[in-house]
């Protein structure tokens, strides 16, 4: 996908935005995502209670006016914990994927543009990483490094990067074959400049799509790890660990399972919708829905 054919009168980003906004579901996804990020960032301001504040008198109270989502087994407000839990999910989701991008994209570009030996090694390493399913690798890292949110994020970043390596490598290879890259090289432009100026802008759209979907997977991944007890450690809230402790009280306090689980589903759904919308909007070759 090159920047060659631009219809006169409208920039590609403008057109993409217009197409994106036409998908109501994608917009819905975007709105939820923005709310999610706001909740995570502004948690200290909007959470009604301290998520770590225990209260032995208010254990497992059902949803009420004082506690919109009820209280958990240690008397903590569930709504506040869900809001603060967004931080763990946000960190794991966005930060990990950002990390994956920072690792994957430069490596992929290098592999694609430089070719030869560098390409062979980087591709093999990416293949090696892709052959271990994310969750297994994350669990192994938790075993060796100890269970902690940081290690979970590291595992997610490492396992998410090969996809970006492949993607950027593909784009770089595509770009390499166009004429004006040859011309630029002939003019004596250094490879990194080539990469920066010519390839990078074209990569951003598919990267955005892939990143959005990767964040959705990363959020589920963090929840899964915390559910197993290998991610965010208590007392810090995480949607996954909240689901874990809620299992004991399935019949007596179902709200403890429903709210965190539904929140995960909603946020992940939102990222998926947004990713789908982005894909449809940015890729001119995509099927019209």
């Amino acid at each position: 996908m090159s920047a060659a054919a631009i219809p006169a009168g409208e920039s590609p980003s403008r057109r993409a935005l217009r197409r994106f906004l036409r998908h109501r579901l994608a917009v819905f996804g975007l709105v939820v995502v923005v709310l999610f990020i706001l909740a995570a960032v502004l948690a200290p301001l909007i959470a009604p209670y301290d998520p770590l504040q225990t209260s032995w008198a208010r254990i497992r109270k059902p949803p009420s006016f004082e506690h919109w989502m009820g209280t958990d087994e240690n008397g903590r407000d569930v709504l506040s914990r869900v809001i603060w839990g967004a931080r763990a999910s946000l960190m794991a989701g966005v930060v990990s994927v950002l990390g994956a991008l920072c690792i994957g994209v430069p490596l992929g570009l290098l592999a694609g543009l430089a070719g030869g030996w560098a390409d062979a090694v980087i591709s093999r390493i990416a293949d090696a990483m892709l052959s271990v399913p994310f969750l297994i690798l994350a669990i192994a890292l938790a075993a060796f490094l100890g269970p902690a949110l940081e290690n979970a994020m590291l595992a997610i970043a490492i396992t998410a990067s090969p996809v970006f390596v492949r993607l950027s490598r593909g784009m770089a290879l595509d770009a390499k074959s166009t004429d004006w890259i040859e011309a630029a090289r002939a003019l004596g432009n250094p490879p990194w400049r080539t990469a920066f100026v010519h390839v990078l802008p074209n990569i951003i759209p598919p990267l955005l799509v892939q990143a959005s979907l990767a964040i959705a997977e990363a959020i589920i991944a963090e929840a899964a790890l915390s559910f197993l007890g290998l991610g965010q450690q208590p007392p810090q809230p995480s949607w996954g660990s909240m689901l874990n402790s809620s299992q004991r009280f399935l019949t007596q306090a179902p709200w403890l399972s429903i709210f965190p689980g539904a929140t995960i589903m909603l946020v992940v759904l939102a990222f998926n919708l947004m990713g789908d919308g982005l894909r449809d909007a940015l890729d001119p070759r995509a099927e019209k829905r």
């Binding site: 225990t54 032995w56 254990i59 087994e73 450690q233 299992q247 004991r248 007596q252």
Partner: protein, 507 residues
């Protein structure tokens, strides 16, 4: 003609039920849900409570205890103290091991020596007073003690009294636990780690008439909700140590029965004071820091939050029902101010990071979290480290812990609740606490036969080892909540929480 048909039918109606009772009953298979997976199934080397439950099927012992906590005969038929240091034990005739060999006095001598001398034996401190065993005749042994011991007999009602087949033990050596051969009502069939332990009826059991199951399967299910769900759906017929929260659910279910029995033991926190380099922390070095930690905990509140107030807060290893319970050694009320003052006095910078190993049961994890919140107010940053139970025992034993939330099932004799845990070199003294005066008191209490004097000795031990040194923090005495299918009859709940299969059957 019609009359004779009627007669035949009437006769059939009368005879058939009788015939049915003569016909062999359908194979009775009992499935028991355990709270943890046992460690190695070798009576000499094992430490887990659930291991003892499995031994109820596999390995009979010289003596047992009944519901009234009295010593009753099992592999032995009787005993007599010839002198304060000489115990004569008469053995049951016609007992066979699972491999067909006969149990005789020589086998008893072999087993007791194995418990005492085998490398890595956890029974050593339980029968440390034993000097040697003499074979008087094939059905009588004489056990000679180094000093009089009030607790020795009760040690023989548990693993230290379990008799193993000498032939199998010699053949398998340290691998005996992979295929144990004893003299219990069931023989070992198979074991898949963390999945199941299967045993089948032993035809030549000495009390075979009392055993009605052909097969028993033990299933470790650490997650309480899952264990309960299994019981409710009929996947297991017996679930041990359920939670107080589940009691009401179980009582409302017409197909289930629940029994809550006060236990003989306790739940507590062991602190690493001298076991390896992980003891080298402010908590491990300074008793003031430990006392601060204890003062920050409100036992009653934790009990209320996690167990609905069902357990009994305590500051000592002896439950209230025990005659050795020390009345005036009770938990102090929570005092965060004093805790902080103690930390300042000890010159410790807060927040002080402390790690607590927690067995991977959901309720214990919650206990950990509640304590975490409580001690945070006093200046401790408690980090929880969840570990599978048997692994946590191993880790604690090699000193790989700072604090360890662990319980003890308890023994009838008070010595069984304190000696191995508090005396220098004690087999269960993971924190490696050591005080010569305490050692002297414990040894003296062991041989003291007068109850009042013994009580005073233990009271002094508590004052020094806990009041002054705070090497452990006892939290509460639990209730063993045992739940089973209504079809199961004949279960006799005993305070030790064991599931004795004699007399039990499924209807």
């Amino acid at each position: 003609m019609r009359a004779s048909i009627k007669a035949i039918l009437a006769a059939a109606a009368a005879i058939l039920p009788a015939l049915a009772s003569l016909a062999p009953a359908a194979a009775q298979h009992l499935r028991i849900g355990l709270r943890e997976d046992p460690d190695i199934l070798d009576p000499t080397l094992s430490r887990t409570y659930v291991g003892r439950i499995v031994y109820m099927a596999l390995c009979d012992k010289l003596f047992d205890i009944n519901e009234r906590l009295e010593v009753v005969p099992q592999l032995a038929t009787g005993f007599r103290w010839e002198s304060p240091t000489q115990l004569l034990v008469t053995l049951r005739e016609g007992v066979r091991f699972h491999d067909g060999t006969v149990m005789d006095a020589e086998a008893v001598r072999y087993s007791l020596n194995r418990h005492l001398t085998m490398q890595g034996s956890f029974r050593r401190s339980e029968i440390a007073d034993m000097e040697r065993v003499e074979v008087v005749d094939p059905l009588t042994v004489r056990i000679l003690l180094k000093a009089p011991s009030a607790s020795f007999l009760s040690a023989l009602t548990d693993r230290a009294g379990m008799i193993v087949s000498p032939r199998a033990a010699e053949e398998l050596g340290r691998n005996f636990g992979t295929r144990p051969v004893c003299a219990g009502p069931f023989r070992f069939v198979e074991r898949v780690a963390q999945e199941r332990i299967v045993v089948e009826r032993f035809r030549d059991y000495w009390d075979a008439g009392n055993i009605h199951f052909d097969r028993v399967t033990y299933l470790p299910i650490p997650d309480n909700t899952v264990r309960l769900a299994n019981l409710q759906s009929g996947a297991v017929e017996f679930a041990e140590r359920m939670e107080p929260d589940d009691l009401r659910t179980i009582q409302r279910n017409r197909n289930l029965r629940a029994v809550a029995v006060d236990e003989l033991g306790y739940q507590g926190i062991t602190i690493n004071v001298a076991n390896g380099e992980r003891a080298n922390t402010p908590l491990g070095r300074d008793a003031r820091v430990r006392r601060a930690f204890e003062l920050a905990i409100d036992r009653a509140a934790v009990n209320q939050v996690v167990y609905g107030g069902m357990y009994t807060p305590t500051r000592q290893p002896f439950p209230p029902a025990s005659p050795f319970h020390v009345r005036d050694f009770q938990p102090e009320p929570r005092n965060v101010e004093r805790a902080r003052a103690l930390l300042r006095e000890a010159g410790v910078a807060t927040p002080l990071t402390v790690e607590m190993t927690v067995p991977n049961n959901p309720d214990l994890r919650q206990v950990g979290e509640v304590i975490q919140a409580m001690v945070a107010e006093a200046g401790f940053n408690l980090q929880l480290r969840a570990m599978e139970f048997a692994s946590s025992l191993q880790a604690a034993q090699r000193g790989d812990f700072q604090t360890y939330l662990v319980g003890w099932s308890g023994r009838v004799d008070p010595d069984g609740n304190i000696y191995a845990f508090t005396r220098s070199g004690g087999g269960q003294n993971d924190g490696r606490y050591s005080d010569p005066e305490v050692d002297r008191l414990l040894d003296a209490a062991r041989s003291e036969l007068d109850i009042e004097k013994r009580k005073d000795l233990y009271a002094e031990v508590l004052r020094i080892s806990l009041g002054r040194d705070a090497h452990r923090i006892y939290l509460w005495h639990r209730k063993n909540i045992m739940a089973h299918s209504a079809r199961l009859v004949g279960y006799r709940p005993v305070s030790d929480g064991m599931i004795r299969l004699q007399g039990m059957r499924l209807q």
